[in-house]
């Protein structure tokens, strides 16, 4: 696959390295001369200096035949414009933009970017998982279906302890798929499964029902 990466910072560099190892054809476009030289020294001639939002630069690097276009500079607006140029001028089938401000996720989607990766959100999620009282952790988003997989812990004081799953009024579209209990094998819950304090519940839900699901399971 021919993949163009805009931005040769830390993310761009390590991404290029990983994709090269997988055998893809990679080209990095980087504004800074020193950084360009560094990448070429480290990875071979896979980096050219230029503005990844400029049509002339993108023509030069053969964007028209790229299978994938990934913009990972530190500036959201630059990533947006680069992807839009790739999409509308060169018809690149898949465009991916890194975003720093999580609020831009919906905006970028509306403006036609295929995939957005919010580095801030990802880091936040990982840190939140380590906070013991954190009520709900996002594990995976299944974007094209509008679903997500989340983890909810049943706190020691929850009124749901001792109740059977069928007694809970789960929001429509939410399914409890796995219960992980200390000193036990993970189990697929049935309607008769009784919840215990400290249960880790892996559930499939929609972003809209997430809040309701959390309330039902934690009783707060």
């Amino acid at each position: 696959m021919y993949i163009i990466i805009i931005g040769g910072g830390k993310v761009g560099f390590y991404l290029a390295k990983a994709l090269l190892n997988e055998g893809h054809e990679i080209l990095v476009v980087e504004k800074d001369a020193g950084r360009t030289e560094f990448i070429c020294n480290e990875l071979g001639s896979v980096c050219i200096r230029g503005d990844g939002c400029e049509v002339s630069v993108l023509t030069e690097v053969g964007t028209g035949r790229a299978n994938m276009f990934i913009a990972v500079t530190g500036d959201d607006e630059d990533n947006l414009v680069a992807c839009q140029v790739a999409k509308h001028k060169f018809n690149v089938p898949q465009t991916i933009a890194r975003i720093s401000n999580p609020k831009n996720e919906t905006i970028f989607k509306k403006l036609g970017i295929d995939v957005t990766i919010s580095s801030t959100n990802i880091i936040l999620e990982y840190i939140e998982q380590e906070v013991p009282t954190h009520p709900l952790t996002h594990l995976l988003a299944i974007r094209d279906r509008g679903l997500e997989i989340v983890e909810v812990k049943v706190p020691p004081n929850s009124p749901t302890i001792g109740k059977m799953i069928k007694e809970l009024s789960l929001p429509p579209g939410s399914i409890l798929s796995l219960i992980i209990r200390r000193q036990e094998k993970p189990q697929v819950p049935t309607a008769e499964t009784i919840l215990q304090a400290g249960d880790q519940i892996i559930a499939v839900t929609s972003p809209e029902a997430e809040e309701a699901l959390r309330t039902v399971l934690r009783g707060l």
Binding site: C53, D76, E77, D78, L80, H88
Partner: protein, 132 residues
């Protein structure tokens, strides 16, 4: 008419002043309060510190009621992003932005963004001046 201007550059400040004199309701946004020194002393509109590519700042500036939005920061991409947010998210009826890079302007014009390129216009004016 209610107009929101992003970027209190010389052009932004001057445009704000012109619209203000004609009685339009003007809100001008800039990330640096120091830029507001460029506004005319009798400017009766609102000057607001905020980022024009941030939805919250735009809402504070009254983008939801705005009849027109103008993006005039020094960054082409910031202007393009702000203009698209105003047009596609907030449905502002009239959106104009500045794009210095003529090729980028051409592309985004074809994507429905009304953009002016001072580079093209000014180069042409200079040429006419020299030849005339």
């Amino acid at each position: 008419m209610k107009v929101v201007i992003m970027g209190c550059s010389r052009v932004g400040a001057r445009l704000a002043g012109l619209l203000d004199i004609e009685g339009h309701s003007v809100t001008i946004l800039d990330i640096d309060a120091y830029s507001f020194r460029r506004l005319p002393p009798d400017f009766a509109g609102t000057a607001l510190v905020g980022d024009g590519i941030d939805e919250e700042s735009l809402k504070k500036a009254g983008i939801e009621q705005a009849d027109a939005f103008v993006a005039l920061t020094q960054g082409d991409n910031r202007n393009i992003m702000a203009a698209q947010i105003a047009k596609h998210i907030f449905n502002v009826p009239k959106v104009v932005c500045r794009i210095y890079d003529p090729l980028r302007r051409e592309l985004f014009n074809s994507l429905g963004i009304d953009a002016l390129s001072p580079t093209t216009t000014f180069a042409q004016m200079l040429k006419d001046k020299i030849e005339g």
